[in-house]
Symmetry: C2
Subunit: 612 residues, 2 copies
């Protein structure tokens, strides 16, 4: 047996082994269509905040400027087209999953991959926070009575998602199919009905803001800002390329098809909504989302409106949920490269998974509280991180094509190069136009994370050197050893512990700490009567401490004469958890002290009770 | 070497081994005089609240009733005399330390000793809470501006004492000597100057409350209530008898002398203060303590007043502090008798000590908050617990004398019997008169604790039976064993771990979990190149979990063929604590899962880094 059959189970065995972690085991299962609910919710749901982000910027120049959403959206859809084509090439080049981190790592130095890692980390946090805030805004649009409780609602949804993920509830692509279908179909219904309606007939009540009708010249800077904000609608289109192995074979082909499908859906939605915005003279308000206003203007305020609005909330919450699944995967990649603690490599072990879930939730909660659940306040932060990732992935691809020089490498490099330049320009626009309104947070967070990653990598390098990784270590050889068994009484447990000790040790000594002289004498007498063939040493410290006398004993010359000393602490293992309070605590204290303050090895041997 | 010289050090070795725990090592050192600051602060400081508690009761019957404090105090001092004589006999009979628990255990059944234990536990909590609240009241009397912050001040002092005790700051009897001397001397100065002053000359401003001057007949019930409340001045006189071994030899003689000294000091103080109360027409107010009023009336509001008042606060805080040292001693006695988890037997090991400190602080804080730092609200609770202990100790002593029938046993039994009857009557008076004003809390807490103690004792009995305590267990014998060493790479650490494993095991297998096929192959190649003579099994689970595949591996028939399986987890032990986050976490997860879900024994072998 050199290899046990690989297990297909997940979880650390806290009882329920399935759950969210089970996603791994259903891998290689999704089709092109299922790729939309499974991997594209973040992208699709961003139509709920992208157009609104644009309008919010344009509104600063007066109601007349709102119509500029059309040319700006066209520019964004053009960028979308380039990015989709670009990411189809990423899928082809990195069929094992080519997130911006993987691409940057393969084509650039460690510093650039740390930049990619940091921006991805920021993105995961922001996806959660932005999606939840936008979901709450959709809910409040339908139920204005909730408008004062946005923050509480957002934190409540976050808490719910966190709990779901801590419990490890299964989240399968199929369960996502229905709300995704409702949302997409609903949005198309809105667009088509809106286009069919006669110009501005029914929406008199929905021209919400009374903006100054000044014929302001809409400056290029404002248009750039609107473009930058609108680009938040493109977040998430990289997700498919990150997770190509999730598709059924031929996985790259299917993934490329999903990417194209996503591009078509997202592009037509954005264009359609932009046209309706202008047609219905819709502007940003604080009480209703733009999407909600468009929906009401198109299909009225009847049941269809409520179905679409609730589907929006659900889809946004599911998009947030996806991040909870994604962060552990990223952390595990980073652990592999020494950028985060190695323990994150075990992402399927429940404690690790839980740790990641809690960290993500705390960051997202802090962000939501900081901006009072206002989506638009987070858009600049969001776009900076995402577009940094886009730029890194594209420019990495350029290097890839130039290096590999495959068929038509210049066309491919040209396409990715165009994408890289456009997204790089967009990133700079974000940073410049949004620096004071939140961008600085990202400008601090990303370098901060990069520094942390670098320090961690350096630590592991130093340790690796000290361990002599890569060199041939000395041959192992057995040493003379001594096993010290702690005993408190003569019992079946003592007998079992001595058996284990005799199996392990060349020499075995039993050791007991007794504070009460009478008990010490009684133990000695009982031991001599039993006569198990093992010497018993009794310590009688003056103070009621077990740790100090045992440490002193282990430092005595006779004990130190042995090269290897193992302290075997046998302990009662009760059936009921609450009985742990009554048992083992002194063993835990002793084990911890010995581990910290002595050179000996410690093994705690449980003796399992059946009747307690 | 059957016994290493007993260590005189305390602490689990968190670095600083001295500290409060060090009290133990300076035992057998104190003289009769030092016994006052070391063991009698609780008793002496109770003059700060005892007389006030009486006046508060009497005030209900009008200003005229206040003068009844004199006869009631005489009754209390008579009881004090009996208790002091009685406790001198306790010291004689139980020179190893005869707290009410020890006496009850020696002379009554387990139920009665559990009653004694429960009432002692309640006393420790109340000593802390009452002393701190009274100390704050003294402070507020001098600085009325603080009057709205009593609760915050009380919690602040409690937090400070808790931190001191968690840090293990040394508290020696000698350090207590000065404030104790100032307090006692100051109180006598107050009494003497007050008696020398002409009748009511200077205290016009201090007759604080305008009580109705009705010539109410002061009923016997009111007098009993006043007596019961005033008995709170007697709390703490048992402390000397609890801790006889703390005295320098001849310890019993010295302890008896201290007890007598305490009786004289406390009795004269109480009588003197009662006379001054009447002379200066002092009654309870909400803004100033009775002791503060008496002090001002006697010595004026100059610097002497402030010195005495601050000494009162300090002495009360020190009295609270004494409880923090006393509870671990009690817990250790109870652990010896299976009434509380055995871990409390290790009271000198720092984690145990800290646990006791925190528990005591939390209970005291809850109580202080519940009564809003009002001393008088806690007096009934306090007296019930203390007098239950008095009664148990006295009646235990009666049984002791009757049983041993020594010289003049009938006189001794008579004295203790009188004390027992008087304190029993007092206890009943408290319970009846104070039941609705807080006494019910104690009436629930004490039986509740007794039940808990009984359950714990029962658990240990059941476990002892299952372990076969008292029977001769089977002979230990070595078994065929297997040591599984987890490895992640070929390194010096791996070599060291294999050496340890070869020392311990008959058969040794190395086991590695690898998620990345390339790394798995590299490890295999490196292993074969090294060829350490130990087989390497590599697990390649599909999911990124280490726990599940290792569990499955250990359940395979080949492994289960060995009777004893030890999993040796070698782990890097960094020098800096913060680097623990980067290291060992996966080992901890694996160790915990194996301990919980398999039958194997686990030993974590640290490899200590020097350069990280």
């Amino acid at each position: 047996m050199s290899q046990v059959a690989p297990t297909n189970r997940v979880g650390d065995g806290d009882g329920d082994d399935g759950g969210a972690l089970g996603r791994d085991s259903s891998r290689s299962q999704i089709t092109s269509i299922e790729g939309i609910p499974a991997l594209s919710l973040d992208a699709i749901s961003s139509v709920a905040y992208g157009p609104e982000a644009m309008l919010t910027v344009l509104a600063a120049a007066g109601a007349g400027a709102l119509a500029r959403i059309e040319p700006v959206t066209i520019a964004i859809v053009a960028l979308l087209a380039i990015l989709v084509l670009s990411y189809r090439q990423v899928i082809e080049a990195y069929p094992d999953g080519g997130g911006s981190y993987a691409v940057a790592k393969a084509n650039f130095g460690p510093r650039t991959s740390r930049l990619a890692a940091a921006s991805l980390f920021v993105d995961y946090v922001l996806t959660v926070a932005v999606s939840i805030a936008a979901g709450v805004a959709a809910l409040v649009s339908a139920f204005p009575a909730l408008s004062h409780d946005s923050l509480v609602l957002a934190l409540g949804i976050l808490a719910f998602l966190t709990l779901l993920n801590l419990r490890g509830i299964a989240t399968s692509a199929r369960a996502f199919l229905l709300p995704t279908a409702v949302f997409i179909a609903g949005t198309y219904v809105v667009i088509v009905s809106g286009l069919l309606r006669s110009h501005g007939a029914t929406n008199a009540g929905y021209h919400a803001v009374a903006l100054p009708k000044v014929a302001a010249t809409v400056g290029i800077f404002l248009l750039l800002k609107a473009f930058a904000s609108g680009c938040s609608a493109l977040t998430g289109i990289e997700a498919i390329a990150n997770d190509v192995p999730a598709f059924r074979a031929p996985s790259a082909r299917r993934a490329k098809r999903t990417e194209a499908l996503l591009g078509v859906i997202l592009g037509t939605m954005l264009l359609g909504l932009a046209v309706l915005t202008v047609r219905f003279h819709i502007g940003p308000t604080s009480s209703q989302t733009v999407l909600s206003q468009i929906t009401r203007a198109s299909v009225g305020s009847g049941p269809i409106y409520y179905v679409i609005d609730l589907a929006t909330t659900v889809i946004l919450a599911l998009a947030a949920n996806t991040s909870f699944g994604g962060l552990p995967v990223l952390a595990s990649l980073l652990a592999h490269d020494d950028l985060v603690p190695h323990v994150f490599g075990l992402r399927a072990d429940r404690p690790v998974y839980r740790y990641g879930v809690v960290v993500l939730a705390l960051f997202a909660a802090a962000l939501i509280v900081a901006v009072n659940a206002n989506t638009n306040a987070m858009i600049p932060l969001y776009a900076i991180g995402v577009f940094t990732g886009f730029t890194l992935a594209q420019s990495g691809l350029v290097r890839h094509w130039v290096r590999t020089r495959g068929k038509r490498w210049w066309a491919r490099a040209g396409l990715n190069g165009t994408g890289a330049v456009m997204t790089a320009v967009a990133t700079v626009i974000f940073l410049v136009t949004k620096f004071t309104s939140g961008g600085w947070v990202v400008a601090i967070a990303i370098p901060g994370l990069m520094y942390l990653f670098a320090r961690i990598a350096r630590y592991y390098r130093v340790v690796g050197k000290e361990l002599g990784l890569g060199t041939v270590p000395p041959m192992p050889a057995p040493e003379s050893n001594l096993v010290v068994v702690t005993v408190t009484a003569v019992s079946r447990m003592t007998s079992a512990a001595l058996s284990t000790a005799l199996s392990l040790g060349d020499t075995v000594v039993a050791l007991s700490v007794q504070f009460d002289p009478a008990r010490a004498d009684a133990l000695r007498a009982e031991w001599d009567r039993w006569d198990p063939g093992v010497r018993l040493d009794i310590l009688r410290p003056e103070t009621r401490s077990i740790a100090a006398p045992v440490l002193a004993y282990l430092r005595s010359p006779e004990i130190r004469a042995h090269r290897e000393v193992l302290v075997l602490i046998s302990e009662v293992e009760p059936r009921k958890i609450r009985h742990q309070l009554l048992q083992n605590q002194r063993d835990i204290i002793l084990a911890n002290v010995l581990r910290r303050r002595s050179d000996v090895n410690v093994v705690r041997v449980p003796f399992r009770l059946t009747n307690d």
